[in-house]
Symmetry: C2
Subunit: 109 residues, 2 copies
């Protein structure tokens, strides 16, 4: 096995899980924080700042890009990455719905 049974879940559950999965690694959290902090797009500065090899960071960027959380444009020799505002908004809304669907119950467990 080792294969997630996506077919038995709803589209919504799969999409949300994919976004969370992409956020489920400290390096990718760190990368997103860096991009946000820099305000303007940053590129391979990450390699110097995080303690990971270039190939590893490139892989994490690819994953973030594949779920649409970031987007990149070639800027001469280097590549400029930044947040994808649409996906960010979508994440914010979906997560908001998810987290707000729970209302604390006094006497439970």
């Amino acid at each position: 096995m080792g294969l997630t049974k996506t077919e038995i879940f709803t589209e919504e559950q799969n999409k949300l899980a994919l976004l969370f999965k992409a956020l489920g690694h400290p390096a990718r959290v760190a990368i997103l924080q860096r991009i946000i902090l820099a305000n303007t797009c940053i590129c391979g500065d990450l390699v110097g700042e995080l303690g990971l090899a270039q190939a590893t960071i490139s892989q994490h960027l690819k994953e973030l890009k594949s779920v649409g959380l970031i987007q990149g444009k070639i800027e001469g020799v280097s590549v400029c990455y930044c947040i994808n505002p649409d996906t960010w908004k979508l994440l914010e809304n979906n997560f908001g719905d998810f987290i707000n669907s729970y209302k604390a119950i006094p006497d439970c467990c």
Copy 2:
């Protein structure tokens, strides 16, 4: 390799990533939605409702419990699971800070 280098990231980044990772599987999203929807604690009803084997669901519940998202109490033969309000609140706050730290920039990428 195959081992996440947690030591090079901040406590905050690791904690957030762990929570996201726990949410990063459609079965676990579905389980949480079910628990929330039932309003009162539900137990192994999940086995009939999701299309996964009992052992698999038990494993997912364990993972959700290990990061503190849910808690369970033995109720006779069965086990009663419900959301852990403290962790839920923590997730809500941490995610809020994270998502709100980004403000869209007009001309970027």
